[in-house]
Symmetry: C2
Subunit: 578 residues, 2 copies
Amino acid sequence: MDKIARIDMGAAGGPTVTVEEVGEYAGLGGRALTSIFIAKEVHPLAHPLGAENKLVFAPGMLSGTTGSMTGRLSVGCKSPLTGTIKESNAGGQAAQVLARIGYAAVILEGKPAGDDLYKIIINKDGIQVIVDNSLKLLDNYPLVEKLRGEYGDKVAYITIGTAGERKLLAASIACTDPELRPTRHCGRGGVGAVMGAKRVKAIILDDAGMKMRAPKDPDKYRDANRKFVEGLRKHPVTGEGLPAYGTNVLTNVLNEAGGYPTYNFKTGQFAGSANISGEAQAELEVKRGGTATHGCHRGCVIQCSGIYNDKDGHYLTKQPEYETVWSHGGHCGIDDLDTIARLDFMDDNIGVDTIEMGVTIGVAMDAGIIEFGDKAGAIRLMDEVGKGTPLGRVLGCGAAITGKVFAVERVPVVKDQALPAYDPRAVQGIGVTYATTTQGADHTAGYAIATNILKVGGDVDPLKTEGQIELSRNLQIATAAIDSTGMCLFIAFAIMDQPETFQALLDMLGSFYGIEMTGDDVVALGKKVLSAERDFNKRAGFTKEHDRLPRFFYNEPVAPHNQTFMMKDEELDEVFNW
Amino acid sequence: MDKIARIDMGAAGGPTVTVEEVGEYAGLGGRALTSIFIAKEVHPLAHPLGAENKLVFAPGMLSGTTGSMTGRLSVGCKSPLTGTIKESNAGGQAAQVLARIGYAAVILEGKPAGDDLYKIIINKDGIQVIVDNSLKLLDNYPLVEKLRGEYGDKVAYITIGTAGERKLLAASIACTDPELRPTRHCGRGGVGAVMGAKRVKAIILDDAGMKMRAPKDPDKYRDANRKFVEGLRKHPVTGEGLPAYGTNVLTNVLNEAGGYPTYNFKTGQFAGSANISGEAQAELEVKRGGTATHGCHRGCVIQCSGIYNDKDGHYLTKQPEYETVWSHGGHCGIDDLDTIARLDFMDDNIGVDTIEMGVTIGVAMDAGIIEFGDKAGAIRLMDEVGKGTPLGRVLGCGAAITGKVFAVERVPVVKDQALPAYDPRAVQGIGVTYATTTQGADHTAGYAIATNILKVGGDVDPLKTEGQIELSRNLQIATAAIDSTGMCLFIAFAIMDQPETFQALLDMLGSFYGIEMTGDDVVALGKKVLSAERDFNKRAGFTKEHDRLPRFFYNEPVAPHNQTFMMKDEELDEVFNW
């Protein structure tokens, strides 16, 4: 990981590849690299789909090593959905393979003039950019199937479906899992549309002939990794809840807490929640010959994913995540797992963010396009997205655009990105994160649910304002750092509760790079990343007035707690005042 | 004009009317009243289509008097198109009639819960708000026709078509002209969508039994008005060009200057311009038994409008304005007046801004939905807007939304409002206005074309940066003041060149209100209005980064001058530093 590849898709005679030393970005990875790079190199007022935007793929600092949980790939750009800086990361095999080939970052720049579609092959011999118009208008599953025919099963694929090719603002970038299914998505912020604007349909990563990245102190690294894995295995969330039920273990938890946004955020509990809970889902998956426990990349010890088969026992989709089950489920008044799984498959195949799409369909329901609870209608709307009809394009551009086009007043977005599966009126801490994160509404950016609801890392009452600012601030800083390591964010549950597991993480970083690594260094890294992102956003015209929730969260109390979002503007403005 | 009516459309038992003394808004009119009111009373982060927004109708300071040119009605709100404060004004009879009934402002507040549609009748006896669901989904022409059957021809009508009812973001508010045609529109910023959100389809203004508003010094007022009219009649623009050819006299002028944006701002001259010039238009109008000289309200001495008949001699539409001929014409590569007139009629009937719609169709052409120059295609797209199909809703939400949904990079908008008919690369001064006005791209906000191209009020080279900031600043200040008087902005040509005509305007204001009025007072009024607007926008999250043109104006030189927009960011930031 000592080099950076710049691929100029807009070069006059066709795409060119330049490989540079990693230079000033040395030692950075993941979100730290993408955000510091974008903040430095992209004009903050650039059109996100124009030649001035850049798309950066960066494995994490520990990706491509023998360390567990290090499979996250960060993708960075100016977001066409939010207009902010964007880092979106995914699991799957891509980060490990790209890191082992030796790239700290691969950067797509410029924009081709014509209509040709490209694929990029990256292996030990270098980088090839090849026109392949036979890939046009393929969705992710058939696209990967076609590429496997050519490049086989020992590589990792990064692809966009038709949504990305059409530059829809909710388009995602898919990474294949160990079984080469395009199920792990950089979902948020429309990064797939930027890849589509660069006219790159697929990146094929082949690490044949390359080795694991070597730590400076291999013994210490091995030892630290062992302790780290022990910590993950003994924590109730990462060692029990997530492996057994996946992220969807949260449906019952949030519904019970009255923070499960239902019917487009009209109430905080869903009568049909038991039908779509993680418990029900895991049982069904196992019964149908799938599995409720599966890792998205080799080296994962949490195994929060699964395989969801249809009623005939055929693979339908990967285990839908909690946020997907929510967005297509309770948010839309749908309590049928098969419908939700079908929509999850369509999202992955077309290549759109499951959160954005589900929220958008709920907004469309509020507009009266279909009724809440209309299962066939929801699938029909996703079909429109896949076909790229005018209605499909609107929906594929997300909740904010759909709300404008169909004149819906209650649109749950911050910075034009859809709110995820936790009502900020019932969980005030997550509202602070939604409002203030540099990314547009995003639960992962500072997952206050951990401490507000799951009581991990302490206990802050979700219904009160006290302590929420500090909680969100600390989580946002820690997350920015974790997103830079290549580590899956779910390690946070263990490191927040177990000092020895946090120390093991520090030791992994320290022994790999041959440096002393302390908790303060992690905090400093997180602050550095957030500062770069905030600086970009400021230059793009974002102010404290954008760090607010939509008005209806302040005006409409939500059952069962009958509370509004109570954080004061002046409190929100303190989040980054560290 | 000593009272203000507040109509609470959202009151629990149905709409309520409260009439107050004019109070703190005394002496204000038009834009001064609407903007100061909105800045004070509307939450800057309110949803524009929600109950928190307010819609203010305010005649100008001199409306309803015997003074010439005083027929402008200002409508103010938070704009659903731009998110900024918005003042949009129109001619027609409404301002005069409303002023004579005695209202300085009529304000629609709140939002009804149900689906009922309302009409409001305002006369000497008071204000009635009546449910009338028979008006549902009528467009402006049939709507006014229906209302005339009930309320006759001696009233003025303010209406919205289906676009406003559907809350499309480009929806306008129509005011009837002396012949009761709904041809004079508060076009910009989607004010019609706000009226639609209030569920008010029509306002019927009846001044029977009311008198002209009386000046404090009638003799001086009469004398000043006489001098004022003399000045207008002797100026070449207001006394010759506009009466003879209407605003479309500019087609040849701008094309010659290389500042006529063609094919969605790809070049600055249009081969077909002669076919759609004001000269060609006036000739055709007269030949077909229409007229090229017509006033939009009684008391107009410029008479810049006209009547455009179809080839069989039947009324088709009012004389399309220059900006309309451009947006539906050269911008879309269409050089056929009958097509443009048909589109103008459709805009007025459906109730959408002609500038926004034409620019949007050009953007749709750039997206490949139809070809540039496709006359039938353009009409077909407008049909979709009228029917409210998904595609029609997208288009009816304007150029920015259409650009996002169809992934067009070159979208000529500032603050999400479409640029009008003057290329800012060939006329740098108008670019300063587009970028910095509080209203989103708007030529009327500081019409630098006057001095850059027409050489009115001085001579500032349109191709150079020198003097443009001061020019735009002074024009924006003067315009904010004129928009408050009820005077048509076209008086500016005469008062900029003729000190005695400017003095006559000051004397009209002074003698009417019984005060001393100086040029400094006008400047102070303009600054006060702009300051209120800027303050609102700031609290709504707008920064200097929003006071910029889209990037392609900086990156793509335009023929024939092969220049980009050259004003520096730091220069733009000086516009309001007075």
